[in-house]
Amino acid sequence: QQQVRQSSQSLTVWEGETAILNCSYENSAFDYFPWYQQFPGEGPALLIAIRSVSDKKEDGRFTIFFNKREKNLSLHIKDSQPGDSATYFCAASAPSGSWQLIFGSGTQLTVMP
């Protein structure tokens, strides 16, 4: 049973379009939601994160939209570039003494030039 679910295993967009990656979760106690970006041959790296008290977090071309009631969130990549082609992982954690980050299965984004 996946606690964090990414609905699309892959997504292809054209350069300049907005890529939208979706994520949903089950545990109402989750309060921290990062997105990690991974290029081939490298480890994941933190891209942007949001806390459940907010409904939007923006950082340059990257924006997270968060819906606490529906238990879902999405990562929007505006003006997509070929260099954005990577695998994106949605993750979540709950405040706990034994803190753990639970990852989704990832969405492989391809931006076509």
């Binding site: 790296a45 933190l46 994160a49 753990q100 990832g106």
Partner: protein
């Protein structure tokens, strides 16, 4: 930028073999994690530690042991490797509670024949 170094980068062993994956971080982070990454499953937590001599069990610990010898070094041990353990393994570190950013190594690709 935090540095996490994993070795080896690639490893091939046979069923029943003994394998040790190494991870070193030089950023004085307290927390260290071992994940495995598989298509369709994302990153799954095997073991983690919040200091030298400490070990905590993750979500998929069966068949794995771990040891944290110093604050810098965290090892993952497969004493009787099986083909189901063929995977991409990532080590990560995190500074402390209140700072939820994970820093990942480049990964170790393990093949068990």
């Amino acid at each position: 930028e935090a540095a996490v170094t994993q070795s080896p980068r690639n490893k091939v062993t046979v069923t029943g073999g003994n394998v040790t994956l190494s991870c070193r971080q030089t950023n004085s982070h307290n927390y260290m994690y071992w994940y495995r990454q598989d298509t369709g499953h994302g990153l799954r937590l095997i073991h983690y530690s919040y200091g030298a001599g400490n070990l905590q069990i993750g979500d998929v610990p069966d068949g794995y042991k771990a040891t944290r010898t110093t604050q810098e070094d965290f090892f993952l041990l497969l004493e009787l490797a099986s083909p189901s353990q063929t995977s991409l393994y990532f080590c990560a570190s995190r500074e402390d509670r209140g700072n939820e950013r994970l820093f990942f190594g480049h990964g170790t690709k393990l093949s068990v024949l």
